[in-house]
């Protein structure tokens, strides 16, 4: 019998070198599929039935991660059109309105950022109410708190980048709050701003933090966070 083109592709050496398991027609192959795939291996091989119920998790962690991916994609596209200098930042931001899809990309980035703060917070509320912060998941709760802090830090550093009045005074107020820290306050403010007041140094510092440092740290912590869900015995039990 002549083999179909799909069959030929699935049995080819190239395909089998990428996807080793083949067609997952047994339970063993189904679990091997999860183990052997880089992206799937952080998920649990088996799920508890109650964990699939929408009203148990409300998909809040997944929504947060989806929003993070949207933020990465739109953010990288916006980086092509933005210059972190006080002469150009505001005009580059305004010029997005003249560019094909510029406005929708900026607003996707903005609304996804607002949404991520909300969903991360609601995710923590859900974890708290289902008592999922307790052992053996206590360390994953701590990672989650760091991820909340990083989400807020991303929001805050992104706030300055449009370089409008709201951004300027928002960062002035925020960094002055930092300066109220006992003993070290003034030094923290000076270090964060890179100068005595909000200016070019602050814009550049916030840009690098927003586009490189914090997303990288958040991504590493997220990978550990998802992997720990599996290692700590999957989703928590029903109440």
């Amino acid at each position: 019998m002549k083999k179909g083109i799909l069959q030929r592709i699935l049995e080819s050496a190239v395909w089998r070198s990428i996807f080793r398991t083949g067609i997952p027609d047994t339970d063993l192959k189904r679990s091997m599929l999860m183990y052997n795939n880089f992206f799937l291996h952080i998920f649990p091989v088996k799920m508890k039935r109650h964990g699939l119920r929408f009203c148990y998790t409300f998909c809040l962690g997944g929504i947060s991660f989806l929003l993070f991916i949207i933020l990465c994609v739109t953010g990288i596209l916006l980086m092509f059109l933005y210059t972190p200098s006080i002469e150009r930042a505001y005009f580059d931001m305004q010029a997005l309105a003249l560019i094909f899809n510029g406005k929708i990309l900026r607003n996707l980035h903005r609304w996804a950022a607002h949404g991520m703060v909300v969903t991360v917070f609601l995710h923590m509320v859900r974890v708290f109410y289902t008592r999922s912060y307790r052992p053996p998941r206590e360390f994953n709760w701590v990672i989650g708190i760091w991820l909340l802090i990083l989400t807020l830090a991303l929001s805050y550093t992104g706030y300055l980048l449009p370089w409008d009045q709201l951004a300027y005074w928002g960062i002035t107020v925020g960094t002055t709050i930092m300066s109220y820290t006992p003993f070290l306050g003034k030094h923290i403010q000076y270090f964060v701003l890179g100068a005595d007041e909000v200016g070019h140094e602050a814009l550049l510092r916030f840009y690098v933090l927003h586009c490189a440092v914090i997303p990288f740290v958040a991504l590493v912590l997220m990978a550990i966070h998802f992997w720990r869900v599996r290692k700590d015995g999957g989703i928590s039990g029903p109440l």
């Binding site: 005074w169 002035t172 107020v173 002055t176 709050i177 000076y190 270090f191 701003l193 890179g194 100068a195 005595d196 140094e201």
Partner: protein, 159 residues
């Protein structure tokens, strides 16, 4: 053996390696912070400016020097130089000529013409800058900030 607990050569070498690694990591952390620590860019001399001659100001008038973030007010007895930076969270206050008070746009604080808090969150009155009258000219030193609890007539620089 000198002490009761002896330490093996292997363990000693282990401690030495850990110590060396900690020193290197510490150097890297300190070095990174030192690299990122901002340079001072403004000299003290640039923080002094001449606001004008005494006779340029009318009694009761409040003039805003935007670039220097300073207000200069002439009172009956003399002058006051206010910092325009709100002592709450460092926004720039405005002088409302109609209501004769300073207003902060960020959190709604208001100050009377002597800089004392009328309403809002600031912890103290508007700060003063050191003001000197040299050859009939007003010289303001914005590097020297005078924080105060309340207004006192002795704060007025006599003409």
């Amino acid at each position: 053996m000198i002490g009761e607990k002896s330490i093996s050569r292997r363990r000693l070498m282990g401690y030495a390696w850990i110590g060396a690694a900690l020193i290197v990591i510490g150097e890297l952390i300190v070095g990174t912070f030192a690299f990122l620590w901002p340079r001072k860019k403004q000299g003290k001399g640039e923080k002094i400016f001449i606001a004008g001659k005494i006779n340029d100001f009318k009694v009761g008038e409040v003039i805003h020097f935007r670039k220097e973030k300073t207000f200069i007010q002439r009172l009956e007895g003399g002058f006051l130089a206010f910092s325009a930076i709100c002592p709450h969270l460092a926004c720039i206050v405005n002088w409302n000529e109609m209501l004769k008070k300073f207003e902060c746009p960020c959190h709604g604080a208001t100050f009377n013409r002597n800089g004392e808090v009328l309403e809002g969150p600031p912890p103290r009155p508007l700060d003063l800058y050191k003001l000197q009258i040299v050859e009939e000219k007003l010289v303001v030193d914005t590097a020297t900030l005078i924080e105060r609890k309340n207004f006192d007539p002795s704060q007025i620089v006599k003409t």
